[in-house]
């Protein structure tokens, strides 16, 4: 208890002289603010991308592609294969009495970005009649659903904000003419909104394709995946690859996300290192400025531990302050900032987890920056320190 009171007193004393060292202390605050700001901004690109690309995944849904296909683009499933998959057990039945499954077709549409006027290819997904029952997270926000057999599309909310000419009633260049936008859909997961939805057979007829690209099904329960996969892969009429939806989406996002993470950690790590050297410098000069005060404390019976804690507390406080400022600036500048990254509309996301991670990182650096000066302060012979002017 006595030790704790010593620490509290030493910390209070140290902080009370902080204003006198305002300029030097600012080095830690600004250094950490820059390092954490950079780290959090770059990583917000990665969290935003992951959220948009993989957020819609569920472990109790499975996606089926033709064997050897890495993505939906390289896959092709015939009507016979679709029928064989639908007949497999372990698929849950929907309200319509049919199996909850959707055989999908993919096309592309060329849209103009609102921000810079450049065009980008965006996916158009043709879906089966049970798509909305299979994806309860997706609901129509404005307007109405497309009608099968008509050249109509429903656009995602994210695509609508990023690209021009997406409002209800606009016409979009798609195969066989100009298709009409009947409304906007939104996903409660915030993911998968970069695409357009329409009826699969209509899209296939317009694209003159006889094969689907993929099929997504609702498993009876998440733990039936192995049995379902086994049933499909052992069926001689089928040559398909089966993945959990979560795994599939994570695999698709991995390459780009890895690159973004490497850049984020590299930038943040190097700047953090620089800020740590700055913190060491500041804390060395702080203990040097406080040397008489520290020696006096020790002369009247304060332990070395209390001195160490008071130095650490100061550097920790400054690092925490700087990191919070950095994270706040990153949040203000970049949170919800709209970007189009390889066909996916993403909102940069400075999540609480990311901000806390950045602050913890800075506090660790602050601890290192305070540690060595603290040791030096605690070890310094008292008499020598008191004698020096």
């Amino acid at each position: 208890m006595d030790f704790l009171r010593q620490i509290a007193t030493a910390i209070r004393l140290g902080l009370s002289s902080l204003p006198a060292r305002f300029g030097t202390s600012l080095v830690i605050v600004i250094g950490m603010a820059c390092a954490v700001g950079a780290l959090v901004s770059v990583l917000s690109l990665s969290t935003g991308f992951l959220k948009a690309a993989t957020g819609a995944g569920r472990t109790d849904r499975a996606i089926i592609l033709s064997q050897g296909a890495i993505s939906e683009n390289g896959s092709s499933l015939s009507r016979a294969e679709i029928a064989a998959i639908t007949g497999t057990p372990d698929i849950r039945k929907g309200p319509s009495g049919r199996q909850l499954a959707s055989a999908d077709m993919l096309g592309t549409v060329l849209l103009t970005k609102k921000t810079d006027g450049f065009s980008a290819f965006v996916p158009v997904r043709g879906v089966g009649p049970d798509f909305f029952a299979l994806h309860p997270e997706i609901r129509v926000l404005h307007g109405r659903k497309f009608q099968p057999g008509k050249y109509e599309v429903l656009v995602g909310e994210a695509a609508q904000t990023a690209f021009a000419g997406q409002t209800e009633g606009s016409r979009i260049d798609l195969p066989q003419g100009r298709w009409i936008v009947t409304g906007t859909f939104k996903s409660t997961t915030g993911a998968g909104e970069s695409q357009m939805l329409t009826d699969a057979p209509t899209l296939m007829a317009a694209m003159r394709s006889r094969a689907y690209k993929s099929m997504t099904i609702q498993l009876a329960s998440a733990d039936r995946f192995a049995a379902f996969k086994n049933a499909l892969t052992s069926n001689p009429a089928l040559s398909v690859d089966v993945s959990r939806e979560t795994d599939y989406l994570a695999r698709q996002a991995r390459m780009l996300n890895n690159a973004l993470m490497i850049v984020g950690y590299l930038v943040g790590g190097i700047m953090g290192l620089g800020a740590m050297f700055g913190a060491l410098n500041t804390m060395y000069s702080a203990v040097s400025a406080r040397r008489i005060e520290i020696a006096t404390l020790r002369a009247i019976g304060f332990g070395g531990g209390a001195v160490i804690w008071s130095v650490l507390a100061e550097s920790l406080l400054l690092a925490f302050l700087g990191a919070s400022i950095g994270a706040a600036i990153a949040w203000a500048l970049f949170n919800n900032n709209l970007q189009v990254l390889s066909g996916t509309v993403i909102h940069l996301a400075v999540t609480p987890g990311l901000a806390v991670g950045g602050i913890v990182f800075a506090c660790l650096l602050g601890l290192i920056g305070g540690f060595f000066p603290a040791i030096r302060a605690a070890r310094r012979p008292i008499a020598e320190a008191l004698r020096a002017t």
Binding site: T24, G31, S41, V42, L45, G278, N281
Partner: protein, 381 residues
């Protein structure tokens, strides 16, 4: 030069402080060099992309008929129209995706930036299962000329398999990118062997005789097929690069933002070091002034100290980045290393920034020395 020992003595007066400041500047300039390298790499991509090279691709994702290549070749201004289709697959493991470009030998005329000899093109045309691979893939997977390589794909071949075997007859370099990964094989062989989508292509590479007319020719090509079941979208390599580097999340803006954060942090950090150092030595400077050093002389001393520290640390950081990258170049993911370009011009710009930081950080301490009153300073007031 005579004053160098004096400047040096100023720096090593507080060795720990100078060393820590040195290290901060050092690591900051490693980062600065890397960011500059990425910016330069993107600029290189923009410069290397051509205006007289057009790409015709499906507008809606459905493949195009092979005959489109012939029709495009007849458009006025078009000199070469080389068709190709992409077979998506992987080597050994789905983690190693490879898009095999199925081409006809005329692709090498359209893409003269791929460095192949006439003999290699002839060998490619003569061997149905021949493949020419880029240095990037060859290095990553250890392929050599003469190797047989199997690529697994979702595309079924007539013999029922999903494995496609190719003979590597040449490993080629791209004139603009050192380790560009590409894999080209014969379209005729592929089209005969595949079961679905026979007679279709994914892309036509088009060369024109006049870069200034590229937009007009693109429109003329797309107009040919506008009312067909498979409309096209034609775009010049340059325009495509512009929109796709833009799509890379405004990397340039991001690197510039981070670079300015680095510089700001450095300016403050070094400025603080100089400030502390000068404040402690006010009496010493007063002595020097008393001994006859001029006003300008003492100022120059402060600037020289900052310059020496920043120039040394900055140069070391820049060189360390250049050296470090050349060491890890072979271990980077395929195609990544040509994205970072370290030119001597870039290094010189980085060095100029180091000097600017030195100047900026010495400004306030120098001002303080100018205002110094010798008598007060000597008295320690």
């Amino acid at each position: 030069m005579r004053y160098l020992p004096l400047i040096w003595a100023g720096l090593i007066r507080r060795p720990v402080r100078s060393l820590l400041t040195f290290l901060s500047i050092f690591v900051a300039f490693i980062l600065f060099a890397l960011l500059g390298g990425i910016s330069a790499g993107l600029a290189h991509v923009r410069e290397a992309s051509r205006l007289d090279m057009l790409y015709t691709t499906p507008r809606f994702g459905a493949p195009l008929p092979y005959a489109y290549a012939g029709k495009i070749a007849a458009v006025p201004g078009v000199t070469i129209a080389a068709p190709e289709t992409m077979m998506r697959g992987y080597y050994r493991d789905p983690k190693n995706p490879i898009g095999v470009q199925m081409v006809r030998p005329d692709i090498f005329a359209a893409h003269d930036d791929i460095l192949v000899t006439k003999a290699q093109i002839a060998a490619f045309a003569a061997n149905r299962s021949a493949a020419i691979v880029g240095v990037g893939f060859a290095r990553a997977y250890g392929w050599k000329v003469g190797d047989k390589v199997s690529i697994t794909s979702a595309t079924l071949s007539a013999n029922g398999g999903r494995s496609w075997t190719f003979d590597i007859i040449a490993i080629a370099q791209d004139a603009d990118y050192e380790d560009l990964p590409f894999f080209v094989a014969n379209y005729d062989y592929f089209d005969q062997a595949r079961l679905t989508d026979k007679g279709t292509i994914n892309m036509v590479s088009v060369r024109t005789n006049d870069p200034t007319r590229s937009a007009e020719i693109s429109r003329a090509i797309d107009a040919l097929f506008a009312n067909s079941p498979a409309p096209t979208r034609t775009i010049s390599e340059k325009a495509n690069q512009q929109s796709s580097t833009q799509a890379l999340g405004d990397v340039d803006v991001l690197t510039r933002t981070v670079s300015s954060a680095v510089l700001f942090m450095l300016l403050f950090l070094t400025g603080n070091t100089m400030m502390q150092s000068v404040r402690e030595r006010i009496p010493e400077f007063a002595v020097m002034r008393t001994l006859g050093f001029s006003d300008a002389g003492t100022l120059a001393l402060v600037f020289a100290e900052a310059l020496l520290l920043c120039a040394l640390a900055g140069a070391c950081g820049l060189l360390a980045a250049k050296l470090g990258l050349s060491l890890v170049r072979g271990k980077l993911p395929i195609g990544m290393s040509s994205l970072v370009v370290f030119s001597w011009t870039g290094m010189a710009i980085g060095f100029a920034f180091a000097l600017a930081v030195a100047f900026g950080s010495a400004l306030i301490p120098a001002f303080r020395i100018r205002r110094m009153n010798i008598v007060d300073a000597l008295a320690g007031r």
